[in-house]
Symmetry: C2
Subunit: 303 residues, 2 copies
DNA sequence: CCTGGTTACGCCGCACGTAAGAATC
DNA sequence: GATTCTTACGTGCGGCGTAACCAGG
């Protein structure tokens, strides 16, 4: 009867994918259903939108005219969902997500707690798999989206960096290293350290880097292990030891001169992950909500 | 399941009208159905959109956030329909329109022919009524829209001038009147006239004006009656007589100096009509098509 | 014949109307 | 108690999947 977004979305996907059957696959519905919705649009407008021939489809003049409106309507829905995702506290839903090993083990568990507090009615089920498997299951619509540690490329996949920062070596202003313009890793590890606890993402990144440089993490002189970044900063400030934290988390203290960032000559402690999901499908609002959560919170506070 | 335009439209109408029941009336559906769709939206977003109290409704923060998106989506649909209306040749549908007496008798019959040629599958049924009755039936959703001769005001009604021009007295360059800076009506009607045939809108407007000034139309010295404006212009150009036509239709001949427009001191031959339709309801695409037809063609060629 | 779009048919769910209920002033 | 929104229930239409059919290379 009346124009609806669903049909415009299907029409757009058909044009985008270049065939009815490819669109059906992308939208995970059957190909006859796609035919039906496009026909229904054509009836609505009283004009053909696509020329079909067995080997390819072609837009009619009317189809060309409609295409930008279809695109706009999809865009509008996405924007609406995104804008509304900050109000979805009572949202019910089930979210299927895939995570690569490290993220699934060290990162996600710490994010799911706070997320669950805010959105108690969204059930999340997480599957830990390798990146290739995650992509496969997203393409099959078995997962809503995935979180992976390395950028991936796929024509049907949207990728967005969720966190992308670097741990910096910090020392109290009074520390011998604080005046140095550059320090090597081997030199730094001779000093006493204050670190986040075992099992934290921050600690993990650090230990991986040390291992990559043939340094046994257990050889570190760890004088204190603390459960939050804030506690670590306070301990460093008080002169207990040096540490590794996100640069952004000590901006304030650095500005006040309480803590110095000591440039490392020979090592980078990078920590990054990316969300990936299908371009063609509209994400369920619960997924949009989770993405907004990832985007807008300072995730580092929990890692 | 997924966000759809229909629900946004209903939500917007509820806010616009200030109550569920008023919205139901405007959308001509039952009030429980409105409740259901708004609730469905609230479920979708996992948040209340409206605070209900028996005497008035109030937007929540989330509702306020959603409102502009709802408005945009309605706008987008309207634009899409309007843009597509030039491709709707095969459109099937039935169009119910109301026309005031003069329009129904003299104007519309001449428009419906050409329209029917272009859109053979749109069935039009026209009801001739007075303006008040037309407005009433539009509000009741018994008519899709109306065409009336005078501007009307109603908070729920959209009004758009469809034609709004003035007939001018024209004379060949060689005519005695052609040099005059101003002429009175009584003076003008002494000269021989070339006119459109009886029953044409142009002729009607002229005769009405004459009657309003106590001049019997039959007292005119009509030397020729022709079936099209083009023929009238040619005859005037050839010196057969003087006439009344739309200023815009003789622009070309005036610029070339073949025909002169002679200002009338004491009369105006205005011809105007307006389309009116509900603001709240989305017009069926067949109605949009008809409106586009009215807007884009030079209607004067048939009147 | 094989790939890809259309037609046919049956089922399920959603949207709606009717009617009754609840809440607020 | 009147007005307005909500809940309950039954119905009908629309969207989709399955399966059979058709058209072009």
């Amino acid at each position: 009867m009346a124009l609806n977004f669903h049909q415009l979305h299907i029409f757009y996907t058909v044009v985008d994918k270049g065939s009815f059957s490819a669109a059906a696959q992308a939208l995970h519905m059957t190909q006859p259903a796609v035919t039906m919705q496009v026909q229904s649009l054509e009836d609505y407008f009283g004009t053909k939108l696509l020329h079909r021939s067995t080997k390819r489809i072609e837009l009619t003049e009317a189809g060309r005219a409609l295409l930008p409106y279809a695109r706009q309507s999809i865009e509008l829905i996405r924007e609406t969902d995104a804008a509304m995702s900050r109000f979805t506290r009572q949202l019910k839903g089930r979210l299927q997500l895939g995570a690569s090993l490290t993220i699934g083990e060290y990162i996600l568990p710490r994010l799911l707690g706070p997320f669950g507090k805010e959105y108690p009615h969204i059930a999340i089920s997480m599957k830990v798999m390798n990146t290739a498997q995650i992509m496969e299951e997203i393409l099959n619509h078995q997962l809503n989206f995935g979180l992976v540690e390395a950028p991936v490329q796929h024509p049907d996949m949207h990728m967005e960096p969720v966190m992308n920062d670097e741990l910096k070596l910090i020392a109290p202003a009074s520390h011998p290293l604080a005046q140095r313009s550059e320090v090597t890793l081997t030199e730094a590890i001779r000093y006493p350290f204050v670190l986040r606890e075992q099992g934290s993402g921050t600690r993990l990144v650090m230990e991986e880097q040390l291992k990559a440089r043939q340094i046994d993490p257990r050889s570190l002189n760890i004088v204190m292990e603390l459960g939050s970044t804030g506690a670590v900063k306070s301990a460093v400030e008080a002169g207990v030891g040096i540490s590794f934290v996100s640069a952004s988390s000590v901006k304030h203290e650095v500005a006040l001169g309480l803590i110095k960032i000591v440039p490392l000559a020979d090592a980078e402690f990078k920590r990054e992950f990316y969300s990936i999901y299908l371009k063609s499908a509209l994400l369920p609002i619960s997924a949009v909500t989770f993405l907004t959560f990832l985007r807008e919170r300072d995730l580092r506070q929990w890692l």
